[in-house]
C-alpha cells in the first residue's frame, strides 16, 4: 500500500506541474495536429475513402509517436532543474515508484492529446470505421503505454548525456518497432474491417505482452539508471 501511495504522490505532483504550465500537452497537441494536417493535404480523403482508411492507422500512430517524443524528451527536465532529482534519490522511496508515477503521468498527457486529436482526425480523413470500433479502446491505451513506458525510461537514461534530444528517438524507435507494428496493424484492421476479429485479437495480445515485458524490464532497471553517474 505504501508503494502505491508513493506512486500516487509522484503522479499527483506531475499532474499538478503540468496543470500549472501545460508545456507537454500544448507542445504535443500542436505537433500532432501539424502532422495530421500535412498528411491530409497529400491526398484527397473524400475522393479515396479506402486509401484514407488504409493509411490512417499509420498516420495517427506516426503523429502520436513524434508528438510524444517531444514531450518525453522534456519529462525529466523539471527534476534536473534545482537538483530535485538528487532530493528524490535520497528519499526513502523506491526508485520504481518514481518511474511509474512519471510514466503514468506521461500516459495521461498523451491520452489527453489523443482525445482531442481523434475527432479532428476523423473529420480530416473523412473516416467511417468498418470494423469493431470499440476495440480501439483497447489498442489506443495499450499502444500509448508501450511508447510512454519506454520513452520515460530512455529519457531518464539520457539525462546525463549531452545529446539527449537525439538519443531518445534513436533508442525509442527501434525498441518500439514490434509495438508499432501491432498498433498500426490492429488500428488499420479496425478502420478498414479487412482483418477478422481473431487476427485483431492476436495483434492486441502481442501489444499486451510487449507492454508487460517492457514495463517489467524498465521497473527492474530504473534504479540502476537513476543512480548511475
Amino acid at each position: 500500500m505504501k508503494y502505491i501511495q508513493h506512486v500516487l504522490s509522484h503522479l499527483r505532483k506531475d499532474l499538478r506541474l503540468e496543470w500549472r504550465s501545460r508545456d507537454s500537452i500544448n507542445g504535443m497537441l500542436f505537433f500532432a495536429l501539424l502532422i495530421v494536417a500535412v498528411f491530409s493535404l497529400a491526398f484527397d480523403p473524400t475522393g479515396y475513402p479506402t486509401t484514407a482508411r488504409q493509411i490512417s492507422g499509420g498516420v495517427i500512430w506516426v503523429a502520436i509517436l513524434f508528438a510524444s517524443v517531444t514531450a518525453l524528451n522534456q519529462s525529466w527536465t523539471r527534476e534536473q532543474r534545482n537538483q530535485v532529482l538528487d532530493a528524490q534519490r535520497m528519499a526513502p522511496s523506491p526508485a520504481s515508484a518514481l518511474f511509474l508515477g512519471k510514466a503514468l503521468a506521461n500516459l495521461l498527457f498523451v491520452m489527453a492529446v489523443e482525445v482531442v486529436l481523434a475527432p479532428i482526425f476523423i473529420i480530416f480523413y473523412n473516416l467511417h470505421p468498418l470494423g469493431n470500433t470499440w476495440l480501439l479502446a483497447l489498442v489506443m491505451p495499450l499502444g500509448t503505454w508501450a511508447l510512454v513506458v519506454n520513452g520515460t525510461f530512455f529519457a531518464a537514461l539520457g539525462l546525463r548525456t549531452r545529446n539527449r534530444e537525439l538519443l531518445l528517438p534513436l533508442l525509442l524507435l527501434p525498441v518500439s518497432l514490434p509495438a508499432l507494428l501491432a498498433m498500426v496493424q490492429a488500428t488499420t484492421g479496425i478502420l478498414t474491417g479487412d482483418l477478422d476479429p481473431i487476427q485483431i485479437n492476436l495483434w492486441i495480445r502481442q501489444l499486451g505482452a510487449y507492454d508487460v515485458i517492457f514495463t517489467t524490464i524498465c521497473i527492474l532497471l530504473f534504479e540502476t539508471i537513476l543512480h548511475a553517474e
Binding site: 505504501k2 501511495q5 508513493h6 504522490s9 499527483r12 505532483k13 499538478r16 506541474l17 500549472r20 504550465s21 523539471r78 532543474r81 534545482n82 537538483q83 530535485v84 538528487d86 532530493a87 528524490q88 534519490r89 535520497m90 528519499a91 526513502p92 522511496s93 543512480h227 553517474e229
Partner: protein
C-alpha cells in the same frame, strides 16, 4: 579514542566515516585520499575556498556520488543504504519552481517511509524557518533567501539523524542567517529516532556565523583536509 571506547561497549558513536576517499572527475581529483570521522551528536564545520572539495565530500556522504577510491560509511553502512536517516541541503534548493513551498514540502513528506517519526508537519517546518505556509506564490518567485529557508524546511521535516548542509548561509541576510543558526542549535536538541543524537556537517565561507554551532572545524584545500583545529 572515545570512538573506539564507545564502539567496544556497543554504542554506535560514529555517524559518518571516510577512509582514504578519493574522487576523480577525469584527471581532476576533487577529493584526494581524505580520511575523517564524524562523531554522533557533533557539529562539524568545513571551511575552504571554492573548489576545495567541500561539496564533493558532502555528496559522497549523502550517497549521491561514489568514491573513486576508498570507502565512505554512514552509521556503519554504505550511504546509499541509509536513505531517510540522512538529509542533504545543497547550493540548489532541490525544490520545484512551479509549486508553492507547502506543496513542495507535502510532496517530499509523502515520500518518507512509514517508520519515519517526523518531528513536525510541513506546516510546522515552514513556520520554524520563518515562512508563511499559506504563501500562494510558487517557489520560483521567491527571493534566494526564501528559497534557501524553504530548502532548510525540506530537510528538517525529514527528521534526519545526519544533516549535511552545503553553504546554508549563502544568500541570507544577517538576521536570517542568525535565525538559521539558532534553529540548527535547536535541531541538535530534538530527540532523534533510534535513540541516537543529531549530527550536523556543514560547509561555509562564513566561519563567524557557524562558530556558535561548531564542535569541530576542518579546513579543506585542493581536495584534502589540511587542518583540523579544535573549535
Amino acid at each position: 579514542m572515545q570512538t573506539l571506547a564507545n564502539s567496544t561497549s556497543g554504542t554506535i558513536s560514529t555517524a559518518a566515516e571516510l577512509q582514504s576517499v578519493s574522487r576523480l572527475y577525469g584527471s581532476f581529483a576533487a577529493l584526494r585520499n581524505v580520511s575523517a570521522t564524524f562523531e554522533s551528536g557533533t557539529c562539524t564545520v568545513i571551511l575552504g575556498e571554492n573548489g576545495a572539495g567541500k561539496s564533493t565530500l558532502l555528496r559522497v556522504l549523502a550517497g549521491l556520488i561514489a568514491p573513486t577510491r576508498g570507502t565512505a560509511t554512514v552509521f556503519s553502512h554504505p550511504p546509499q543504504q541509509q536513505r531517510g536517516r540522512v538529509a542533504y541541503m545543497s547550493h540548489s534548493p532541490m525544490l520545484y519552481d512551479e509549486l508553492t513551498a507547502m506543496e513542495n514540502l507535502d510532496y517530499f513528506a509523502s515520500l518518507q517511509s512509514s517508520s519515519c517519526n517526523c518531528v513536525g508537519s510541513p506546516e510546522m517546518a515552514l513556520r520554524a524557518v520563518g515562512l508563511d505556509p499559506k504563501l500562494s506564490r510558487p517557489v520560483g518567485q521567491y527571493s534566494q533567501g526564501m528559497r534557501q529557508r524553504t530548502s532548510l524546511a525540506r530537510v528538517l521535516q525529514a527528521d534526519p539523524e545526519l544533516l549535511l548542509l552545503d553553504e546554508p548561509f549563502s544568500n541570507l541576510d544577517v538576521a536570517s542567517a542568525g535565525h538559521m543558526v539558532e534553529l540548527l542549535s535547536d535541531f541538535r536538541t530534538w530527540p532523534a529516532p533510534h535513540g541516537g543524537s543529531r549530527t550536523i556537517i556543514l560547509t561555509t565561507h562564513q566561519h563567524r556565523l557557524a562558530e556558535p554551532l561548531a564542535d569541530r572545524t576542518m579546513t579543506m584545500q585542493h581536495g584534502q583536509i589540511i587542518s583540523e583545529p579544535a573549535a
